[in-house]
């Protein structure tokens, strides 16, 4: 870990203007500290958001919930209202990481964590995502990598479980920028595949700070996750299913692409709001439409079809 300054700014509204590409925000630190230790990130300074008045509340709002950016995964997991009203989110956080990490990790930070690709995480490998050239996973060890959109420059998967649930729920984030402007952004638009000019998995600028996450109610929602052990692993495949207030069914997978992956083919195959056994069969079969697995991860396709089937059955 390279040396850095540590800063506290009491007013959260004053934080964005202080941020630069080398002055970075620190929240739970559960991902950031692993990157600092591996020398993947070398900031000049960290601004500790926990020392500010950035939101920590879980509030009922019209049609859903508003979570302050600093709400921890543990608090979501143990919140009776969220468990009943947005089970997909509560189930996703409950299956993410471990109690210790959930006690520390924040919901906003969870969305912005970097991929766990073992090449990207290796400081001696300069892959495209780390600023170099080429993707060693494409022709190397790729059992944990993407099965959709695999012709892009990077085949790392997004590591977040809650992200898939939040996209399925139609959640949005509130973002404060360095000029004092505030904007609302769908989580689906926050998390996008990296490009040559922007080699991260989100669209935020260096001086943007997420201040809140707003989650519409969906009592009929779930998140199912396949791991290579029963707990404490990133998703091999996860599937979030949510029935929105107007009856629309959204299906989003984790562990299969650079970002949470909307299962558009499966949604179309439902052909209407009725989740009949036949419709669920059709949707599950269509869940892998367009998939292009790599050499070692074809096993994800039957997992994706099965979890899609189980998730739809659970919300039917």
């Amino acid at each position: 870990m390279t040396p850095f300054d540590y800063q506290r700014i009491p007013e959260a509204a004053a934080v964005p203007a202080q941020l630069t590409p080398t002055v970075r925000p620190l929240a739970g630190g559960t991902d950031l500290l692993t990157r600092l230790k591996a020398c993947l990130d070398r900031p000049d300074a960290l601004v500790d958001l926990k020392a500010s008045d950035l939101g920590r509340a879980i509030d009922r709002v019209d049609g859903g919930w508003r979570l302050g950016a600093l709400v921890t995964l543990s608090r979501i997991q143990h919140h009776p209202g969220l468990r009943a009203d947005v089970p997909a989110l509560a189930e996703a956080v409950s299956q993410a990481a471990t109690p210790q990490l959930r006690n520390r990790a924040t919901i906003a930070g969870n969305l912005l964590q970097r991929p766990r690709c073992w090449y990207f995480r290796n400081e001696r490998v300069q892959c495209w995502l780390a600023g170099g050239e080429g993707c060693p996973a494409r022709s190397g060890r790729n059992e944990h990598h993407a099965v959709f959109d695999t012709d892009g420059p990077c085949v790392a998967t997004h590591p977040s479980d809650p992200a898939a649930a939040l996209v399925a729920l139609g959640a949005t984030v509130t973002v404060l920028d360095g000029g004092g402007g505030e904007r609302e952004l769908a989580v689906a638009d926050l998390l996008v595949p990296p490009t040559d000019e922007r080699r991260v998995e989100h669209v935020l600028a260096a001086d943007d700070v997420i201040t809140a996450v707003t989650v519409p109610s969906a009592p009929r929602s779930t998140y199912l996750k396949a791991m290579d052990r029963a707990v404490w692993a990133f998703a091999l495949v996860g599937v979030a299913a949510a029935v929105s207030a107007d009856g629309e069914v959204r299906l989003v997978a984790s562990g299969v692409a650079n970002t949470p992956w909307r299962l558009a083919g499966a949604e179309a195959a439902l052909a209407g709001p009725g989740l009949t056994p036949e419709a669920i069969d059709r949707a599950a079969a269509a869940a892998t439409d367009g998939a292009a697995p790599l050499a070692e991860n074809g096993y994800k396709l039957p997992l994706l079809r099965t979890l899609t089937h189980r998730a739809l059955t659970a919300v039917a």
């Binding site: 620190l26 559960t30 210790q100 990490l101």
Partner: protein, 156 residues
């Protein structure tokens, strides 16, 4: 200069911002009950309580902890009187080499701080972030059951 409150005692320490809480506990304060293994949040041996919540001290900067209450395994027993969790680990033989034990115990203590009447399922879930290379898991789960059966609190 930074003041860390550990097991109820204030400790002034001079540390760089990049120093990890685990490292400061062990090297600066000599509290070696908190164990150092993976240093990446992958094993749980370094678990401590921060304001009553179990966290991996390898993924916390010491400077983040000013004004918080840190508790390590050294702070649990009152003289010869063990906490209910410690007593259950002894009674159930919930360890072999003992290296992961401080972390396992603090994870269960954290669950009891959240809910003094935590049931066996909650206490077992509390240690899902703690590896035991000896494989003493069956007896660790038995200890969780013993705590649940005997306590409505007693977390020290």
């Amino acid at each position: 200069m930074l003041t860390l409150t550990v097991n109820g005692q204030p400790h002034p320490v001079a540390v760089e911002p990049r120093r990890i809480l685990l490292d400061v506990l062990r090297r600066d304060l000599g509290l070696t009950g908190t164990k150092e293994v993976c240093e990446m949040g992958n094993c749980g041996a370094c678990t401590v309580l921060l304001d009553d919540e179990a966290v991996y001290s390898c993924l916390v900067l010491a400077v983040e902890c000013e004004a918080q209450e840190i508790e390590t395994v050294e702070g649990l027993a009152r003289g010869q009187e063990l906490t209910a969790v410690q007593e259950a680990f002894v009674a159930c033989d919930a360890l072999q080499c003992g290296f992961c034990t401080p972390g396992q115990i603090l994870s269960m203590e954290g669950a009891l701080r959240r809910r003094p009447d935590a049931d066996e399922a909650a206490l077992t879930e509390a240690v899902t972030g703690n590896l035991c290379r000896c494989g003493a898991y069956r007896n660790i789960v038995a200890a969780a059951g013993r705590v649940a059966a005997t306590s409505s609190g007693g977390a020290g």
